[in-house]
Amino acid sequence: MNAELNRKTAIKEVLPTAFGYIGIGIAFGIVSKAAGLSALQAGLMSLIAYGGSAQFIIVSMLLVHSPIISIITAAFLVNSRMILMSLVTAKYFKNDSMLHNILIGSLLTDESFALAMNKLNYTNNKLNFAWFDTANWFAYFVWFFSSVLGALVGNFIENPTNLGIDFALVAMFIGLLYLQMISDKSLKLSLQLLVVVATFILVYLGLIFIPSNLLIIIITLLGCAVGMVLKHVFF
């Protein structure tokens, strides 16, 4: 990663995340197909209800003919962590036009957010529209095409999650987390380590009684609070 914030750099930096998108996108297509959706419907969902894990939940609820309102509620809850990521990202675009703000927000994902947070450490804490917009559109198209591809070839190929591709996203978060921790100078490394350990404990305990569609958002809200307390008491 470097300090440049142009479209070319964005393509280069978003590329490693594409592995995750392709594998999971194809898996989503296959799952949709198996649940009785057409390639058109799978593609439309990736375009309109763009949101990774939420889409898998939508498909599983469509399969059992859940009422539309409960599917919308579940999708919103799974996706609610995006509210926090948008809040964090928005402050870097305060001086951009409203249209640019809406475009960045519309295509924001876990991956482009994590990538951008890393990028900040190389750019003197700045982001711009050209870089973020390119990273977002690249991810959006890769996700769309791989989900359509998955739905089209669903009957003929093995689900890529059997081959290890499903680990691409987890590996990406491991990499981004580590790079974030060693390069973020605004928080002490020892404090960050403590917060990560606290998050591990929260996840373990949370899994006992928090339904999976609420897990990430609740853990994040609690984890940030723990971080605040640790920072003020010990640092």
Binding site: G20, F76, A114, I174, G175, L177, D184, Y204
Partner: protein, 108 residues
Amino acid sequence: MSSFNYVLFTIIGCGFAMWLSKVLPFILLKKFSLPAIVIEYLSFVPIVIMSALWFSQLFTQHLGRLPGINYENLLASLPTLISTIISKNLLITVIVGIISLALIRMVI
């Protein structure tokens, strides 16, 4: 309602709800500023969310009981973490991760 419309309306409804949670913060923050304490709180979001997304994949959930361990992901996380520490490169990390899990699945 036809099956096609059922799927279509679900997609549109979900899309709108998901879009709002991503876009509203941008619109609101264009008009208002957050208090310093909220900004400080939000400064923990990146590492907490990335850790949570990783750690949640290391377990299998059984509501009401202790979570089980997902040994495949746990084992694959080790070489992945080591490769990221050595290389500091995202692409290498992702490739090592995929190969690690594929190898683990072949053995187990």
